[in-house]
Symmetry: C2
DNA sequence: TAGATTGTTAATCGATTAACAATC
DNA sequence: TAGATTGTTAATCGATTAACAATC
């Protein structure tokens, strides 16, 4: 039974399902049951059926799920076929690492441009992505529909850059800075990648283990 | 009332509390109530008091919490004062970006070494972190207690590198590869930073918004 | 003292798991 | 047909929120 509200817990599990189904597909697996899927992913068959049922009926009694069909359905749900576009703000080490190494296209995104202020790189391109001066950001956004901005700028210009992006109408910000963005427009979606939070959680878990051992 | 089991939900919120308390402290704020904290962080006073009560009693009736005291308590809880050590595996763009730009010391970690196989960088150092050849990993780990390994190696060597790290006795792996690690030793803690999962969640959320608008 | 705010217990809400009729 | 497995409803579990006595 399709639901109209999807909980965050479900949304966060979908990419993992997708990733694993891709692996299965590449390995030539044709069908899989919810219980096999659950076992591989460390969750339960119930949870997987419950999660999928939020979006429709993709399986067949007595058979399970066709791997390629389910993969493709989840891709659709996640918006991978929507031809999203993205730009990168800040071509330092991290911005460059993402442009060069991260497979945006596997998530359905096309990188259309990058922006920086350093004269050494403005005018060059990285992996065929042209690097423009940050001053031309508004002009670019006015001329090119852009769904997501990847924020990898230095901390001190983070907030102002975010403001400019929101004013210019981007739909989402993928935020790699350690700054908590305050965004006036609630329609703009901010997805944070807080490295420090992740490392501190790891720190807690290894420290906790130490404590338990004593 | 101190708890012995702390839920994952609580653990994931602690770093945010810590980050915000740091900001408050730097801004010279002396005291804060759970309701003010909740309002700023977009959660509830109840939740914050409930979360903190897992670890002890840090507040005072009628007053609230002393910012510096609470900050310091949470730092202790997270293990920031444990003088953890870390090494970086793979000094490509991402590894380099982390070494150069991420403030490991703010999370209580000291970077003691990095490893790579490229002759161009083995023997150099990045931000005073020496880069050794990956072949010397085991020897280094035998001689230097190492809590966490930061995994930023290419996908094809990810799993084998993880195995070597686990065999050599690291306690935690901060995994930036898109590979789901399978680790034999359940005592080793893996913290994944799955960029693609994060971007796909963002993709879902902007796509969903589109759909709702139609 | 009176007002504010804690830590904790109780109530509510939501998410996960179990059970099962339907059916391939 | 018999076995397997779905989608969904019901039961359980855990997390969040509300309420309040204690007290600074």
């Amino acid at each position: 039974m399709k639901k109209d509200h999807i909980s965050n817990a479900v949304i966060r599990r979908l990419p993992r399902y997708f990733r694993y189904l891709n692996d299965l597909h590449e390995a030539g697996v044709i069908r899989i049951s919810s219980s096999a899927l659950g076992k591989s992913l460390g969750s339960t068959a119930s949870q997987i059926r419950q999660d999928l049922s939020c979006f429709g009926e993709f399986g067949q009694q007595g058979y399970g799920y066709n791997v390629e069909t389910l993969r493709s359905e989840i891709a659709d749900i996640l918006g991978i076929n929507k031809e999203h576009t993205a730009i990168v703000l800040g071509v330092g080490n991290l911005g460059r690492a993402l442009i060069e190494n991260f497979h945006f296209e596997r998530s359905g995104f096309t990188l259309t441009a990058a922006f920086d202020t350093s004269p050494a790189i403005v005018g060059t391109s990285v992996r065929n992505v042209p690097v423009y001066h940050a001053d031309s950001l508004e002009q670019f956004l006015a001329e090119h529909h852009t769904d997501v901005a990847v924020l990898t700028v230095p901390q001190r210009v983070t907030q102002q850059t975010a403001h400019r992006l929101v004013s210019a109408g981007v739909q989402g910000i993928w935020n790699f800075t350690n700054i908590e963005l305050s965004i006036s427009n609630p329609a703009v979606i901010v997805e944070d990648v807080h490295f420090a939070d992740s490392l501190l959680a790891l720190s807690y878990m290894i420290s906790d283990r130490d404590a338990a051992a004593n």
